[in-house]
């Protein structure tokens, strides 16, 4: 038995919601009958291949495409010069200096990271397109390379001349009074440097699209795997000098996203230009090595000069830190990472005085973009590192110090120092479940037993929050001129002519099981089995069932996606009840929807209309309905959560609405000879409020945990001093395989969200807990071998071995000043 699932602590009366109904998506996917974008073909389609920069930084002296064009079967090429003529730079979200950066779909005059697309070629086959790309001659003049954020800050080399600085954005967030908290503290724990590394969740399906241009209407259709088309279109349309109505995004099945499929607009704009230029459908499927080299890295962040205020009893009252974020060559979505962490400013803890001096810089590395746990994970890792370093230095118990400092269940809803509201949760109770699962009471005994075998055993906790349902108004904390705020998602529900219930989502699932969970919600509302509900696969702009922020990202489907589904289903239900009341000549209060019928409660058996009758009346047989009665049985609903406004002066406001809790606990053994870390016990406890489908929730917990384990122990994008990525594919970038994954124990509790339409919180991004707990467990294991401090979020054997060899080097990072 590898998995233990706890029973929910709260049980609400539900129908299909709350049941682990097997997923309906699976039947096609297990037969190879899913449709991924690369499966779609068009007559006369050309294959696109990008010519990419082999250098991290250089001037483009010349590009010669003539030899490629001579090759039989090559349809055409596109270069940065053409892009600069036919498009405008993508809009930048930051204020100056980052706001002045000019970012085009292909490199214009200069390359700024290895793998940056410089030209594109389109040919009759994939192989030919690659051959042709090899024939495109690009001459470069190399420039000095920046791979280190602190070096970049010096501005001795500047990546973007228009910006005049490598700084994208900087600002100070100051809540409470941290100076006073430090002055009044009994101990001040100082940590010079902590480093959160670069990695990404690397979905198994790479990015890509099939793009068709309709010359007659000026419209592009993108059959693609963009996970946030609403934002994609906002980026692309102005750059292409067209309206958003000219971009139709279509998705079918998507092979994982994890945030890595949000920043695809540069490549998609190239495809749009190519399709228009050549007058034929064009297709691009990213190669794995290109995905690793030049698509979507998670943010790398260095935390400097941390000071923590601690009272004699172990209460922590505040901290200050300088955060230096490295977004790679272009910020794109990224300046948002400078603020999104603030959704979880205090982590799970009650400290009220926090100052974060945040700066983001460009370097000659792959652009960063959202990655599962986006920006919050880095910050939560900081808070967890602080807790464990303080505990180690002051001799506090890691369990007790957490319980002392956690926000308490009775404080919920809890307002954070920056005006966010933690909606519900019981962190201490979740921790207890995790401790039970790993048999915490036996740790010291197991430590001794491991020591007898020459192994170092360690135990660690990772507490984390999965904040969901973004308030895009937080972008105005970066740039008050930005015209974004709030959030929205749409869905449509209709009852069709033969009684079919059809649901269309605005969300863009990539494996989260939306077709199943949406059917559960609709079935409960309309009173029919979920099998009767057809939830259409994927997203299509032409369904008109999307909103400005449509997509699947930032843990919000359970709130906005299902909120929209619920809203639309309730409108259809109202129509059905009114129609049935009219036909059966009964008051609306007497009508119930159940078992696929609209019927009179406790009425005679024949006083019941099957859904088919209702659908047929409205759609095909409606002459007898009175003129002032017009039920449509077809409704679109937009779920627009309420946030209020943010205060751009104080940098406060409700930045997100729901907070799912994840508490992870791990027991590891370290081989002191090699630095190898083996996970011997692992538990993850999730509290995402009401679970629509507990099995799907548990699957998300497993997956997020696997990402964390990979990130904590092996996955790292490593650059050499020339800006060459050394881990450019699965050969060198080791993701967990079946043999690497330990047995996972999972536990769950349900603290319903008081603000979400179904009491369900967005979830799936809490995997950071694994990075936190493994770092803590390694530090705990190393206590017996020189007491090293874990200062990096990635700890492969060579780094652990170094800490074993020279623990003092890590300890030099830390100082305790006691009064």
């Amino acid at each position: 038995m590898t998995t233990v699932t706890e029973q929910p602590t709260t049980t609400l009366k539900r129908g299909y919601v709350g049941q682990s109904i097997p997923r309906r998506e699976d039947k096609r996917l297990v037969q190879g009958l899913g449709t991924f974008f690369d499966d779609v073909r068009r007559h006369g389609m050309g294959y696109v291949h990008f010519v990419r920069s082999p250098y991290a930084h250089g001037k483009i002296i010349s590009i010669d495409v003539s030899k490629a064009l001579e090759l039989d079967g090559v349809y055409g090429t596109l270069t940065g010069d053409e892009v600069a003529i036919h498009t405008d730079p993508f809009f930048e979200m930051s204020v100056e200096p980052g706001g002045n950066i000019k970012d085009y779909a292909l490199a214009v005059g200069r390359v700024r990271h290895m793998g940056e697309p410089v030209a594109a070629v389109c040919a009759a086959t994939r192989e030919l397109a690659r051959d042709a790309a090899d024939l495109i001659e690009v001459e470069y003049d190399s420039l000095p390379v920046l791979v280190d954020a602190e070096e970049s800050l010096k501005d001795e080399v500047v990546l973007h001349d228009e910006a005049g600085s490598n700084v994208v954005w900087s600002g100070v967030f100051d809540w409470g009074d941290v100076d006073q908290a430090l002055a009044e503290a009994d101990h001040v724990v100082k940590i010079d440097r902590l480093h959160f590394h670069r990695f990404s969740s690397t979905p198994l399906e790479c990015a890509g699209a099939l793009v068709e241009y309709d010359k007659g209407t000026g419209e592009w259709t993108l059959t693609c795997n963009h996970q946030m088309p609403g934002i994609g279109a906002i980026w692309m349309a102005p750059a292409l000098r067209t309206g958003i109505d000219k971009l139709r995004f279509v998705t079918h099945d998507i092979g994982g996203g994890f945030g890595n499929k949000i920043c695809l607009h540069p490549q998609y704009v190239v495809l749009c230009l190519m399709a228009r230029k050549l007058g034929r459908p064009v297709q691009w499927t990213e190669w794995r090595t290109d995905q690793h080299t030049a698509n979507a890295h998670g943010n790398e962040r260095t935390f400097l000069d941390v000071e923590v205020a601690v009272k004699a009893d172990g209460t922590m009252t505040g901290f200050k830190v300088k955060a230096l974020d490295d977004c790679g060559a272009f910020p794109r979505y990224e300046p948002l990472g400078c603020i999104i962490w603030a959704q979880v400013t205090p982590g799970l803890y009650g400290w009220r005085n926090i100052r974060v001096d945040f700066t983001q810089v460009c370097t000659n590395k792959s652009p960063a973009s959202p990655n599962r746990g986006y920006s919050r994970m880095q910050h939560l890792w900081l808070t967890e590192r602080i807790i464990d370093i303080v505990a180690t230095e002051l001799g506090l118990d890691p369990v007790e110090v957490r319980k002392k400092n956690y926000v308490k269940a009775e404080q919920m809803p809890y307002e954070t120092p920056n005006g966010c509201f933690y909606d519900s949760g019981d962190y201490a109770a979740a921790l207890d479940i995790a401790l039970d699962l790993i048999d915490y009471g036996s740790i010291e005994e197991r430590r001794k037993e491991a020591a007898s075998r020459g192994k170092l055993l360690g135990f660690g906790i990772g507490s984390t929050l999965d904040s969901g349902t973004n308030n895009f108004g937080q972008s105005t904390l970066l740039n008050p001129d930005l015209q974004f705020s709030g959030n929205n998602e749409a869905a449509s529900v209709k009852l069709d002519i033969f009684g079919e219930v059809v649901v269309t989502l605005g969300t863009v699932p990539q494996g989260q099981g939306h077709e199943t969970t949406a059917a559960q919600v609709v079935a409960d509302i309309l009173g029919c089995p979920p099998e009767q509900v057809n939830v259409r696969r994927g997203h299509d702009t032409w369904f008109n069932s999307h909103a400005g922020f449509s997509g699947t990202y930032a843990s919000q489907f359970a709130f906005t996606g299902l909120g929209a589904v619920k809203g639309a289903a309730e409108l259809v239900r109202e129509d059905m009840v009114q129609l049935a009341a009219a036909v059966l000549q009964a008051p609306v209060e007497a009508i119930e929807l159940a078992d696929g019928f609209a019927r009179i409660k406790d009425g005679p058996e024949e006083a019941a209309l099957p859904f088919m009758a209702l659908g047929a009346i409205v759609n095909a047989n409606n002459a007898f309905l009175p003129p002032d009665f017009n039920p449509t049985l077809n409704h679109r609903y937009v779920c627009r959560p309420y946030f209020g406004m943010v205060d751009t002066e104080k940098k406060t406001g409700q930045l997100t609405l729901t907070y799912a809790t994840q508490i992870h606990a791990a027991v590891v053994e370290i081989d002191p000879e090699t630095g190898e870390v083996e996970i011997i016990d692992y538990a993850a406890v999730d509290d995402c409020g009401i679970r629509i489908n507990p099995q799907i929730v548990e699957g998300q917990v497993h997956g997020a945990t696997a990402h964390a384990i990979g990130a904590a122990l092996s996955e790292e994008f490593v650059y050499d001093e020339d800006g060459t990525l050394l881990t450019a594919n699965f050969y060198d970038y080791h993701v967990p395989h079946a043999m690497d994954m330990p047995p996972l124990k999972t536990g769950a509790m349900e603290s319903p969200s008081p603000v979400a339409p179904l009491g369900a919180k967005g979830m799936g991004e809490g995997g950071g807990g694994g990075i936190h707990c493994l770092g803590a467990a390694i530090q705990n294991a190393l206590a017996a071998a020189g007491n090293a401090i874990v200062y990096d979020s990635c700890n492969p054997p060579h780094r652990v071995w170094s800490m074993l060899q020279d623990p003092e080097a890590t300890r030099a990072n830390v100082e305790v000043v006691s009064k």
Partner: protein, 160 residues
């Protein structure tokens, strides 16, 4: 000696059907399966032979179809994911994947199923460790393998 042939006629038996076709000498077997035969259930997830999304059966053995040229498969019997469920009736393993929630995005799933099917053919009742060993060449980025392992063990009559 003349120039090497740029293409060649090959014959394959694919999911029980005999197929003759002319393929470019350099064309990978996976691209023939996907692009020429239209069997798009076999996926491509990497360019280094690491991920296993393209796993098929070649004369009964699981192989990564991106790691060989189509011409090397001349005369072989090929089984793809589309051939597993005969008339839409799922195999017990496919059913177990559904019951145990062993897939999320479904992109690695065909390769996983082909590897696991081959395992169950040579070892009908594998242990958890045997399943993990057999699937180590297949990467999944969604599930952490927990439920995949559980499903394969269950399909073999055991419990993980």
């Amino acid at each position: 000696m003349g120039a090497p042939a740029r293409s060649r006629a090959i014959s394959l038996e694919v999911n029980g059907e005999q197929i003759e076709l002319e393929v470019a000498a350099r064309r990978l077997l996976v691209h023939v399966i996907r692009d020429d035969l239209g069997l798009t259930g076999t996926h491509v997830g990497c360019d280094t032979g690491n991920c296993g999304a393209c796993t098929i059966h070649l004369d009964g053995e699981p192989v990564k179809s991106c790691m060989m040229l189509a011409v090397q498969a001349d005369g072989a019997k090929i089984g793809t994911i589309e051939g597993l469920a005969g008339d839409g009736e799922l195999t017990p393993l496919q059913q177990a994947f559904n019951t145990h929630h062993a897939l999320q995005c479904g992109y690695c799933t065909p390769g996983m199923l082909m590897s696991a099917t081959a395992l169950l053919e040579r070892n009908p009742h594998p242990t958890e460790d045997e399943v993990r060993y057999a699937l180590q060449g297949n990467i999944c980025r969604c599930t952490g393998y927990v439920n995949i392992v559980e499903a394969v063990v269950a399909a073999g009559g055991g419990s993980a």
